[in-house]
């Protein structure tokens, strides 16, 4: 159980990452590729939070009541991930709006059939 306690978040993070990568590489539908991108990003967010996580740690607030020796969770990755989530959302929004435009031009989202620029 100790192994699971320590590594379960990493397993989850890389599970999500590789599911996302698989979806991006294998699927032919653009929407599914974008979903894969989101999954992959979620895996990375989870990885970041797992890096700073301590089992049974507390919130990193120093107050008079809590002794200084108490274990605290690292707050920096969480702050970073808030930024990264915002960036991820803006990429997602741009990707989906481009998908709409692509559908208006080609009447399909299957990337096998979109080859105007293929040489």
């Amino acid at each position: 159980m100790d192994f699971l306690n320590n590594y379960i978040y990493y397993i989850g993070a890389f599970g999500l990452f590789f599911i996302g990568l698989y979806t991006m590489l294998i699927k032919k539908n653009l929407i599914k590729i974008i979903i894969g991108l989101t999954l992959l990003d979620s895996g990375i967010y989870l990885f970041f939070v797992a890096v700073g996580y301590l089992h049974k740690g507390t919130a990193p607030i120093i107050s008079g009541h809590s002794p200084a020796s108490e274990k605290m969770v690292d707050p920096v990755p969480q702050a970073l991930i808030l930024t990264a989530i915002v960036i991820g959302v803006s990429i997602l929004a741009l990707a989906l709006s481009l998908a709409v435009k692509l559908y208006q031009h080609y009447h399909t989202l299957n990337i096998k059939n979109i080859k105007e620029l293929k040489w």
């Binding site: 990755p77 990707a95 481009l98 620029l117």
Partner: protein
């Protein structure tokens, strides 16, 4: 002393000033980018001499590093900042008459954001901050590629976005690994802990970061998006992507290799990677019939050459790399801009449609010719000293291997010469000689072209001063410990 923060703050603020000022008059959207870039250019020039003596640092929030986000305006950062603001300024003057259709206001906002991101990437000393600025650069370039809103533009933007977003995710993962191991995000602080790469826990983030930034820099196996994106975007955007965006990606790659990891044991690998990129790029460019696609593939080749120069790792080759970077930025921006107006008039990107354009648009065709000759590396132009220094640096390695590599570089130059001369021949010596009415480009388009031509010839004839400054610039990449000591005291 000027504060380098202004280099980021002013374009960012003026980008969002555009829609507000647009309520008053439509003219502001064209003037604000020019004013912001002129301001950046002047500030960067004012910083040159202080920075050559001692790098200027800014601690955001007032804490000292590694606890704050720091801006490190060293010689490399100022070199790139001058290049970005100069090219950005000239292209925004050109765009004032070139961009007429569509959402022009949004074009100018995104254009300024792209330049803000590029300046931020080169100035920052914090790896997560670098990622954030890199995303500003990338997201605005995805949107700008789709600006034309036609079939090709949207398709190219989708391809670019999917590959670029995957690349940025890999960068983020690499940063996660680094933070997990070293518990800091300051690049100098991380670099202080890494001497040589032995452990897999250092190697994995190196590979992730190089792959992620390599996608934006279009290094060989990762360059699939570039020809589509550069050929489908409006010509001003092709110029800024080719002249600034991929160079900034390359800067990030070099910063990772030289400063962050000090990966001197892997430099030979990057030499080969650069050479492969060069050969593939030039050979693909040779077979193109679409002029903008040809220029895009030529950019891939040039990036390969620059990477090759830097990866040789000697003081001479790094100076040569910086010079070649300068020459490619000026030359390729000029080529895309002059080709852009000829395409605009003839209505087709096919090389055969450019036949006889020299009679119709003599100045634009002349500017294109100068740019082409400079990129090939003919003597009076800026391209010659760059290529000369790279070949010389390769020969001064006194190794059989590098002599062979130098021969391959020269072979690639010959291929480059052939396809550029083909276009120049079409411009001047083909097509009907009947006196066609002259359709000169407007003056506001000719001014930036003329300034580019002036710079290319001027620096080409007197490269000495620039080389002197670039020698100091190159030291920042070679003396990694000076960089670290400069930040962490």
């Amino acid at each position: 002393m000027v504060n380098p923060v202004l280099l980021i703050a002013v374009p960012l603020a003026s980008a969002f000033l555009i829609p507000i000022a647009g309520l008053l008059s439509k003219k502001f959207e064209k003037i604000i980018p020019i004013a912001a870039m002129l301001f950046n250019f002047i500030i960067s020039l004012m910083l040159v001499f202080p920075v050559l003596e001692k790098p200027v640092q800014v601690y955001i929030g007032g804490f000292s590093p590694p606890f704050c986000i720091n801006l490190f305006a060293g010689p490399v950062a100022i070199f790139f900042s001058i290049l970005i603001s100069l090219v950005g300024l000239l292209i925004s003057i050109y765009a004032a008459s070139y961009i007429k259709k569509g959402a022009t206001e949004k074009y100018h906002i995104l254009y300024l954001l792209l330049l803000t991101g590029a300046t931020g990437v080169v100035l920052t000393g914090d790896i997560f901050n670098l990622f954030v600025f890199f995303e500003i650069l990338c997201i605005s370039s995805y949107a700008l590629v789709a600006y034309t809103n036609d079939k090709a533009g949207i398709e190219a933007a989708v391809k670019y976005l999917i590959q670029g977003a995957l690349g940025s995710s890999l960068i983020l993962l690499g940063i996660g690994f680094l933070y997990g191991k070293y518990g800091t995000l300051n690049m100098a602080h991380i670099a202080a802990s890494i001497n040589t790469i032995t452990a897999a826990s250092d190697f994995i983030p190196l590979v992730l970061l190089i792959t992620g930034f390599g996608i934006e820099a279009a290094i060989f196996p990762l360059n699939a998006w570039l020809p589509d994106a550069h050929s489908s975007a409006p010509s001003t955007i092709s110029a800024i992507l080719s002249a600034i965006a991929i160079e900034v990606g390359l800067y990030a790659v070099l910063r990772i290799i030289f400063t962050l990891f000090g990966a001197s044991s892997m430099l030979l690998f990057f030499t080969f990677l650069g050479l492969t990129t060069l050969l593939i790029g030039e050979m693909c460019a040779f077979t193109q019939t679409n002029i903008k696609r040809m220029l895009a593939y030529s950019s891939i080749g040039q990036i390969g050459l620059i990477l090759f120069a830097f990866a040789m790792g000697t003081a001479h080759s790094i100076t040569g790399g910086f010079f070649q970077l300068l020459s490619h930025t000026l030359g390729k921006a000029l080529l895309f801009l002059s080709a852009g107006y000829m395409i605009y008039r003839s209505g087709s990107m096919h090389i055969s449609s450019l036949q006889g354009q020299a009679q119709k648009m003599p100045y634009t065709a002349f500017a294109f010719t100068i740019g082409a000759f400079s990129l090939v590396g003919l003597p009076p132009f800026i391209g010659f000293p760059g290529k000369f220094m790279i070949i010389k640096a390769a020969m001064f390695k006194y190794e059989m291997l590098f002599t062979i590599l130098a021969i391959l570089v020269l072979t690639a130059t010959i291929i480059e010469g052939v396809y550029f001369f083909k276009v120049v021949q079409a411009l001047y010596f083909k097509g009907d000689d009947t006196a066609t009415p002259k359709q000169r480009a407007p003056l506001i388009v000719l001014i930036p072209l003329f300034l580019f031509v002036l710079l290319i010839i001027g620096i080409g004839i007197y490269p000495k001063y620039i080389i002197k400054i670039l020698n100091t610039t190159g030291k920042e990449f070679i003396n990694r410990f000076d960089y670290i000591r400069g930040i962490i005291r």
